[in-house]
């Protein structure tokens, strides 16, 4: 038996999510932005797996499974958009704060 309470995993997941969110807000390279979104999704997965253990049920693990699949699909489409954009304008930098304004 481990002596680590389940809350330790939840706190770690919250910290990883925060790191990813801050990354999205401050970096401007699109590829890094996508990686930061992956960090956020990973934090969600960690929360779900920990919660799955809390309840001794499989739902959280199945949810994680689907998030991994959807994340893969999202990354494929996102990188395709990025490649197309790179061929149009020759840079992969964006300014997220200005994107978030109209």
């Amino acid at each position: 038996m481990t002596a680590i309470p389940i809350g330790a995993h939840l706190i770690l997941a919250a910290l990883i999510f925060t790191v990813g969110l801050v990354g999205v807000l401050i970096r401007r390279n699109l590829i890094v932005l996508f990686m930061c979104v992956e960090l956020m999704l990973n934090a969600v997965n960690l929360t779900l797996v920990a919660a799955s253990r809390i309840w001794g049920a499989a739902d959280g693990q199945v949810f994680t499974f689907f998030i991994i699949v959807v994340a893969a699909a999202e990354v494929v489409v996102g990188l395709a958009i990025l490649v197309n954009l790179f061929f149009r304008r020759g840079t992969v930098d964006v300014d997220v704060p200005s994107l978030l304004r109209s």
């Binding site: 919660a51 949810f63 689907f66 996102g78 964006v94």
Partner: protein, 495 residues
Amino acid sequence: MAIDFGALGPEIALAVTALVVLAADLSLRGPAKQLVNPVAAAGTVVAIALTLRLWGDERSTFGGTFVIDSLALTFKLLFLGTLLAVLGISWRFFAEGRYFQGEYYFLIVTAFLGMVLMPSARDLLTLFVALETVSIPAFVMVGLRKRDLYSSEASLKFFLIGVLSVAIMLLGMSLVYGFTGTTSLTGIAEAIAATQTPGSETPLLLAAVLLIVVGFGFKVSAVPFHFWAPDTYAGAPMPVTAMLAVASKAAGFVGLTLVAFAAFAPLAGAWAPVLGVVALATMTVGNLGALQQRDVVRLLAYSSVAQAGYILLPFGVARGGTDALSLAVNQTAFRAVLLYLVAYAVMNIGAFAVVIGVARRSGLRATADYAGLGARSPLLGGAMTVFLLSLGGAPLTVGLWAKFAIVEALTVDVTAFGLVLAAGLVVNSVIAFFYYLRLIRGIWMEAPAEGAPVPQPGFNLSLVVVGLAALTVVLGVLPALVTDTTSVVTLALGR
């Protein structure tokens, strides 16, 4: 476990249609490629027939994660009707614009497959996967105008916002699962009702609920998450814009309705005021933004932000209790949302269809280009007038009854907050009328510019425009047609 394939009929029909479209696109060459459009339309008609066959049934399969009831079937019909209309306005546009046609039709059918599934989903996981099936094809479709940098950037913006909102929504969902131990919507409601006392809920749970609401707020372009909408709408191919403004937004509202009323109804005291304030801000920002637009697509984009605000209003008065009055308030609120979404789909697709008809071959889309449209094309000018009047909520159009339903929902039980929301709706309707009437005045009163072309909308588009304009007026004169149908739709949600 036996799977009830009959209940899945519409979804199976759409999935098969998507694959047939893909195969047909491979085997057709050159101009014949546009024939995938009628193939997709035929598949949609089959799906509609299969949906109608289920009418009146109450079924559920996959352990209760997939449910057929009046709510699900009504929304399925709304989405499938929208798909038919969007296919109608897409044909000429994509056949003449040299797009990847087959891929476009595949993507739009799969996006609608996700939408048709959403109102049946009664589980956070199924809801999430269905929502992504709506979003991911939409990311690609927005970027279909590949040679246009503006379109590529619109698609990137839409993608980043979409992915971020999903990550935030998923954090909320994971916390809710950690809290309740189930992903079933009714299970969550039961767990919350069993563990929480009204007025002293666990802050973590409230935060999780708000994160999920924020995620859906992005989808329906509610303030302060509306910034992506005008740019994305203006950059996307126009039929895709119509799809995003109507169907994708309606899907967001379906998801919001399900989580709000099915899973988090006991916590309505926490989320309802937030959504009410967001609704007020959304319609005001949308209408004030629309006042300044000179591009018709951007004008309609801001107008659709404002319309999202109207649809959010009834959520603002939702109640958490289980007494008769609270249930009546929630039921009326839900019915107003449903009625407004139906009306909104009819009039907004109509408006976008006219914009596509005017822009065909000429690319004209500034408000100034609509000067004298009534003289050049009485059909398009007349139809646009009907749609704009209806969006504004004029008498004899369905828009009036939709707004009336919202006011009714806000005043079932008269509260100060409900009256503030209703007053906001009235003030905003007046502001909105200003820019709708300005455009209508241009269409009829101003002389067309020198050498302005006569729009040639084409047969399919004319058919859609005439059909939707007729529907706008008929439902405006005989609102009972739709209110009687929606009155049987109840917010039982499998409880």
